[in-house]
């Protein structure tokens, strides 16, 4: 493969620059929170991680439907890329949240509905990848990945709405009205920064997945034969 500048590298670079700018404003320009103090600054990565994790899972859900519908390898690769990116951001989200929780709530973890559904979310999608790795036939692998992704997605709206539906330790969503203007700025910049980095990584991961699929098909030609028509001894 020749090394050339791909469209997504530009987006990734922009994302990194924005992340630097947003984090700088968040750490040095925005005010410390009146009660929480400096530790509140973890919000500038925690909330963008949450938004983008939900976005990646939503993309995975849409890609999975298209993948089942069309059965084109491209959509299967994109589904996997979005699931993986969602898992990375979801894991980051839990770690950042835990650190913030210790400083404000006083505990690292609690079985509150928001925390529990977020933990279930990362486990569900890790399960999707596990299931995927069990299936060797590329066509069936795509089908099972898509179905598992669609079912796992149930938890995404639950994570979002649970704090509104039920009492929880985690607070409900903030709005620009409940956040000081100088805190909204780095929050928004970092949200776009992580979005661009996520797009970059998903694009890279999609290409890698398509390449892997080609290699799998070369390595296991007998699995491409129609079902029941195998001449394998």
């Amino acid at each position: 493969m020749t090394r050339q500048f791909k469209w997504d590298s530009g987006i990734g670079l922009l994302g990194l620059l924005l992340l630097f700018a947003g984090s700088y404003i968040g750490l040095f320009v925005a005010p410390a929170e009146r009660y929480m103090g400096e530790v509140q600054r973890i919000m500038y990565v925690h909330v963008p991680s949450a938004w983008n994790a939900m976005l990646c899972y939503t993309l995975a859900f849409i890609f999975a439907i298209v993948s089942l519908w069309t059965h084109r390898p491209k959509w299967d690769a994109m589904t996997t890329a979005a699931v993986e990116m969602g898992i990375v951001l979801n894991a980051l989200l839990l770690v950042q949240g835990s650190i913030w929780a210790r400083a404000t709530w006083g505990v690292w973890w609690d079985w509150d509905v928001r925390l529990t559904t977020s933990l279930i979310l990362v486990l569900l999608f890790a399960g999707v990848l596990t299931l995927r790795s069990f299936v060797l036939d590329t066509g069936r692998r795509a089908t099972w990945t898509a179905i598992a992704t669609i079912v796992a997605f149930v938890d995404v709206p639950l994570v979002y709405f649970c704090v509104r539906w039920w009492r929880s330790l985690h607070q409900v969503q903030s709005t620009p009205d409940t956040v000081a203007p100088m805190m909204v700025v780095p929050l928004r910049i970092n949200a776009f920064a992580i979005l661009f980095i996520a797009i970059w990584m998903m694009a890279q991961r999609t290409r890698l997945e398509l390449e892997r699929r080609r290699q799998d098909e070369v390595a296991q030609p007998e699995r491409l034969a129609p079902m029941g028509g195998s001449t394998h001894e």
């Binding site: 519908w69 006083g106 898509a146 539906w165 903030s174």
Partner: protein, 163 residues
């Protein structure tokens, strides 16, 4: 090949329907009634003697003027209120730095025979307000009470009554 494609499309529709069904059940199936993360002081009070000895979570605001430290500094006493009822709390645990008058708290423990709620796990509940120092530091109990989401439950109950 089109048969295989149809099978996949049926699978797609089935998977989406299963997902939507589970979500609808969780949202509208009344599961929230059994999923109470914490009790309000009123709910605890109305349960009477049943609550004595059972491990429960209680949520509410720290009543202004109720915080007392014992002379040896080991015991902390305060009251948790929802505006209607108030429950006296006693704890030997160190409160989080965010602990203060009027803040939302969730305490895990049980009511003793003296009617005091004993806890070793005291959590501070933050609301969704993020402000710079000096802004809105006057204590607004009505606004803080919103963070306890008692009214979210109230709405659900009212809805059920209508149904």
């Amino acid at each position: 090949m089109s048969k295989e494609r149809n099978r996949r499309r049926i699978l797609a529709v089935a998977a989406i329907m299963v997902a939507a069904g589970v979500l609808a059940f969780l949202a509208f199936g009344g599961i929230g009634e059994n999923l109470v993360y914490y009790w309000s002081p009123s709910e605890l009070e109305s349960s009477g003697d049943k609550a004595i000895g059972a491990t429960i979570r209680l949520g509410g605001l720290v009543e202004p003027g109720s915080i007392q430290h014992s002379e040896d500094g080991l015991t902390l006493r305060f009251a948790v209120t929802d505006g209607e009822a108030s429950v006296p709390i006693t704890t030997k645990s160190v409160p989080p730095a965010m602990f203060r008058e009027g803040v939302g708290v969730v305490v895990e423990g049980s009511v003793n025979r003296a009617g005091e709620f004993e806890t070793q796990r005291l959590l501070v509940k933050h609301d969704n307000q993020y402000q710079a120092p000096g802004e809105g530091e006057d204590l607004d109990m009505a606004e803080m009470m919103q963070s306890m989401q008692f009214e979210a439950d109230q709405k659900a109950k009212e809805q059920e009554n209508v149904e």
